[in-house]
Symmetry: C2
Amino acid sequence: MDYILNMAQRAKGASKALGRMKARDKNRILTAMGEKLRASHEYIIEENMKDLTAGRERGLAEAFIDRLTLTPERIYAMASGLIKMAEFTDPVGESIRGWTLENGLKIEEVRVPIGVIAMIFESRPNVTVDAAGLCLKSGNAIILRGGSDAINSNKALAKLITEAGREAGMPEGAVQLVEKTDRSLVGELLSLHHLIDAVVPRGGRGLKKVITELSKIPIIETGAGICHLYIDREVDEDMALNILINAKTQRPGVCNAVETLLIHVNKMEMLGKVEDALATRGVELRVDERGIGYMTRAVAAAEEDWDTEYLAPILSIKVVEGIEEAIDHINKYGTGHSEAIVTNSVVSSERFLREVDAACVYVNASTRFTDGGEFGFGGEIGISTQKLHARGPMGVRELTTGKYIIRGSGQIR
Amino acid sequence: MDYILNMAQRAKGASKALGRMKARDKNRILTAMGEKLRASHEYIIEENMKDLTAGRERGLAEAFIDRLTLTPERIYAMASGLIKMAEFTDPVGESIRGWTLENGLKIEEVRVPIGVIAMIFESRPNVTVDAAGLCLKSGNAIILRGGSDAINSNKALAKLITEAGREAGMPEGAVQLVEKTDRSLVGELLSLHHLIDAVVPRGGRGLKKVITELSKIPIIETGAGICHLYIDREVDEDMALNILINAKTQRPGVCNAVETLLIHVNKMEMLGKVEDALATRGVELRVDERGIGYMTRAVAAAEEDWDTEYLAPILSIKVVEGIEEAIDHINKYGTGHSEAIVTNSVVSSERFLREVDAACVYVNASTRFTDGGEFGFGGEIGISTQKLHARGPMGVRELTTGKYIIRGSGQIR
């Protein structure tokens, strides 16, 4: 217990210093971290190799090994991410709004860091670097707890960025990695509500379920994505196919990929083209009763298909009577992540935007754009699928909270 | 279970209709509710009398009876609150920000209702009306669960506003009161995370502790207030005394009243005046070793005094070496609610504003202004003392979340 408690106390202490740091000083640290990673790619790759070897020995799936792998290109991308963050506007101290009461009291809402964030994540070691950078930029201390499969990679990355940070003036305790992989430590971390302000779980359903049940600290849930694409009655068919191909196949293993195609009953004849486009790209199609007759290589969809985040080259397809049924289906089975309509009708597009209950709702574009980097946030700590605090991609702004500053001249009630 | 489940399902259904309602239609309902309350004050007072009689029989404290009591004036104030809300800007649909990506995608963040709110509160029946009005205005459905002591008053108020609402076109299920007082129903309510989006507890520590432990739904914690006033070395003594008297005695039973006075060591001689001002107003003074010598009617403070929200005419007093010790004390014992400094020094005031970690930080004004009504929000659902989602007084804006709307012309990644 002392190991985690000491870590949280150091983080709390660091958060006070971080909250007061000038943007220039934080940016110098970010740049130093990025440069250190660039200069140390050989060491990182050596350490990463230990995880890859151990993972292969344990028989991890190739998709998993791929997410775990660090190449010089991936290391340079992480490093550039940090250096780019240094160029971003600092969110801390931003005046959100301000007004003066009739009695002369001046009220101002300013943006301040949240404090201490705990990030609990699986496999991908780049999260160590991205999360540390975003938290530092927004003035928060961070405690990172990665998966045991990536422990050597995470330790190497954390060692380099904390060393570079310390040399550039980062407060001790600002970025810490839980190096022990004992699972009970997660429970201890999640009990420290007086020291840690928010927990961000990033990983599969199992991880999130455990954290939601254990945590005494407020959680920001991220990344569950059963995303839909609805092809409306009047559409540009080429555009619809392009968007579908992109949303399903460009990277099927991520949360903003499409899992279910909903198609207007008058567009059923498009299903042949859908099959041609996707089956040749290795996508398995699971189709409802009405649609399956238009296809030759599809299998029948079961009820649980509508409720499944495949994260794989599988697409479920359902024929709907119209936009109302499409919206109802999405609001019933969707996870509130990203939903798209392809349509030429302004009536349909406006209705879809208004009635679909999700973080990101698209008209005539791929759901794959739901991403902090794509949105221009310079990275993301995750994609929130809850409604409180933040919704959608979370960048540095979403790692802050408000504080009311009230200046008076003796006012009383 | 069916009773609560049905209620939550009706609320979920109503929330969809509410989210799409025009501001004009919601405002008509608010006005109708206010007029109905005004016209029905005799009936309300009759029902309230039942609670008061039962409460006196059970030997409830007079302060409690006072909070429970509805007078024609209090009923008119509630009614006027609803009618005023109708005049406020509707937060739903507000464009929070918008930008266009290099690829032509137009991203807009718009304000939308949270969905379904559950409000669990004690004694004060005006919460029924205020919370219903604020949720309706912000397009949220609300499930209200008040204390059993106020059950007749709450039932009367809920009956009147739902009747008036229904006649004016409010969706069925938009405002619902849990009329059964069985405590196990609270646990059932707090388990329905697929139907209820947020829980707002409003009441004592005991209530909040139970809810935090039971809830599977995100919580917005409100109202714990160990608030401090720090009198700095250089001050206008009259201003300091005025603010202290107001912050401690104007309404000692509320969360934004001051519980602890911190005073600069060079200002110890002011303690005689503090005693004169407060002891004559019936305030018990609990003072540390250094300060007690300057007073004649004070008792010695114990360690637990720094950690106690009296909600009563009691003030603890501590002498500090300077602003650093004052800030450390506040950040250690404060609940992150409202903190004030009285000073003539701009160095002190800026440091206090920056380093004190609380929702509302005051310079030269009473902490009693931390209130949605005083801030100009037209009421409040509570005062958040947490950092996620909302911090400080929560009005209609804080009852909304964001939604990203993305308009494209075929963009893919």
